[in-house]
């Protein structure tokens, strides 16, 4: 009797969690049978900004010489920039010197700034390239 009840509990749990999983995966948005462009494409229904950081880093890599310093910001978030964007860039731009968006005292501005989303309004930087996900700026 106990064994049967145990089987029932396990099967019901498995069935319930499977249904919940299917509903959850559906709720995270389609398309459902296409290979996504990045590993963050469907973590939420709305496109996360970090997803654009990944794509922008891939595209911007070609515009910046190896070894040059760069940081990543979302100008719309000023002045409280999300520091995770530069952490993301660290893994995607391994041949560049990726810097934290806040400058240490006396630290030189990075040579490049990747602006995700909105354009960067800074007289020290000029636009180098523009993509749907953001823009690449170089120090004047």
């Amino acid at each position: 009797m106990r064994q049967k009840f145990r089987t029932l509990v396990i099967c019901l749990t498995a069935a319930t969690l499977t249904l919940l999983l299917v509903r959850l995966l559906h709720a995270r948005g389609g398309p459902f049978f296409e290979i996504p462009e990045t590993i963050l494409d469907h973590v939420e229904k709305e496109r996360p900004l970090s997803r654009d950081v990944i794509v922008l880093c891939r595209k911007a890599e070609l515009w910046m010489p190896r070894g040059s310093s760069v940081t990543v910001i979302a100008p719309a978030q000023a002045p409280h920039y999300d520091f995770t964007h530069h952490l993301t860039a660290c893994g995607l731009l391994p041949h560049h010197e990726v810097r934290h968006p806040s400058l240490a005292e006396g630290e030189e501005w990075p040579r490049y700034v990747l602006a995700v989303g909105e354009p960067l309004a800074h007289r020290g930087y000029q636009l180098v390239a523009e993509f749907p996900e953001g823009r690449v700026y170089a120090r004047r």
Partner: protein, 425 residues
């Protein structure tokens, strides 16, 4: 192509750890369990070999890694038998495979990715591989301070190993590695108990708890894999040598995977003391994780990289109520606490006495989790608990899954070794 090669690197791990097939307890397992145990052992051996190479300034090039591994496998392969590759098929096992397919789908369609992979585990793997070692300069750089410079090195080393094969880092294979860990955890529970229903309960709960809070690509699945290995060995292995060696590998792996591994090891050792395990065996089991922790802490001390291991702050009961409420809310996993309720129901329908060890560890790890949250200088319910509790609480949940399996496992006659030396069950 780089994704295929990057993933193939993880599939090679069981070959590196195949020496554990010589153990009686492993030899008795079904093939998936044997591969899972060998994979966990292989990942630890590889991580240790790479750390040792880093210490002696032998760069992690593809050639050097293959040479070192070829020598290592050649030495350890002797005496390994490949007979009796059996699997007991049943509808429950097919259901396990279907759930595993859902986890793979969730991973490959980018629906379960954890941010930590992008923020620090992945970048560390990339930079370590590029430097050919554990890159102290990268860890010391103030720009990388938020990438948790003193987190243990095993996962970045495995990512570096994958990258050594694929040339460019494969983010997709890093995510799929989580699905492999889930499969390995379930295989261990299933094959140590010879019970597909226990495997089904574990797979359904892990599938939900891995995908719902986005775990793919993080270190938690690997930590849970080692925790499962250690406790399954202690609960189900019938001979003392197997029990001791597998527990050493499991606890050693846990301690070099995440900082939380240290508190898990303390919880297991305390539980074993309470179960009156023979002191000699207990000391032997403790030796591996303590040696590995000692080595890592020495490295951190000499390179001045201490950070997380200093601890969050002094214990305070100021936020006790809010911490408890927030942790309890996170434990629901948005499924009305079903993972806990179902597992506890199954435990109490079986022989609870046989589940004493995992139950004790589950209780201690739950208490430890709250203890660390109470050391937060600010209210942990605001950020710390919502961002971490669903991952940290997986440890006691997996312990309960093992307890549920143990409460219904076939009662196997203990071998002479186990009768002589192991703990009282």
């Amino acid at each position: 192509m780089s994704d295929v090669l990057g993933f193939a690197a993880y599939l090679l791990l069981p070959f590196i750890g195949i020496v554990v097939w010589r153990l009686d307890a492993v030899r008795e397992l079904a093939i998936d369990g044997r591969i899972a145990v060998a994979g966990a052992a292989g990942a630890l051996f590889l991580g240790m070999l790479m750390s040792a190479m880093s210490l002696v300034h032998l760069s992690w090039t593809r050639t050097a890694l293959f040479l070192v591994l070829a020598i290592f496998i050649a030495i350890t392969l002797r005496g390994v038998r490949f007979s009796e590759l059996r699997v007991d098929w049943s509808p429950a096992l097919l259901a396990v495979l279907a759930l595993f397919a859902i986890v793979v789908y969730a991973s490959l369609t980018a629906r379960a990715t954890i941010g930590d992979l992008l923020f620090f585990w992945g970048p560390k793997g990339v930079h370590f591989q590029q430097a050919g070692k554990i890159d102290v300069d990268f860890l010391r750089n103030p720009d990388h301070f938020l990438q948790h410079r003193d987190y243990p090195p095993l996962l970045p080393a495995l990512f570096a190993w994958s990258m050594a094969l694929s040339r460019t880092f494969s983010w997709w294979s890093a995510i799929l590695f989580t699905a492999l860990c889930a499969a390995a955890i379930v295989s261990m529970i299933r094959s140590f108990t010879r019970d597909n229903l226990s495997g089904l309960l574990a797979m359904s709960i892990l599938a939900w708890c891995f995908v719902r809070p986005w775990i793919a690509g993080g270190a938690d699945p690997l930590l849970l894999l080692y925790e499962t290995l250690a406790v399954c060995a202690l609960v189900f292995a019938r001979d003392a040598p197997s029990q001791t060696i597998l527990a050493m590998i499991g606890l050693g792996g846990a301690i070099v995977t995440k900082v939380e591994g240290a508190s898990f090891v303390a919880a297991v050792l305390l539980a074993l003391l309470l179960q009156r395990m023979r002191f000699q065996q207990l000391a032997l089991i403790a030796s591996a994780p303590l040696a590995l922790l000692g080595a890592w802490l020495t490295f951190l001390y000499r390179t001045e990289l201490f950070d997380t291991y200093r601890g969050p702050g002094a214990l305070s009961l100021q936020f006790f109520g809010s911490a408890l409420r927030a942790a309890f809310a996170a434990a629901s996993y948005d499924a009305y606490w079903l993972p806990w309720i179902a597992t506890l129901l199954v435990i109490f329908m079986g022989d609870v006495k046989r589940a004493r060890l995992p139950l004790t560890i589950a209780a201690i790890t739950c208490a430890t989790t709250i203890f660390f949250y109470l050391k937060s200088p600010t209210d942990p319910a605001v950020f710390w608990i919502p961002s971490s509790a669903h991952r940290v609480l997986l440890t006691p949940l997996v312990m309960l899954l093992i307890a549920a399996a143990a409460a219904h496992a076939q009662k196997l006659p203990a071998t002479r070794d186990a009768q002589r030396g192991a703990m009282e069950r």
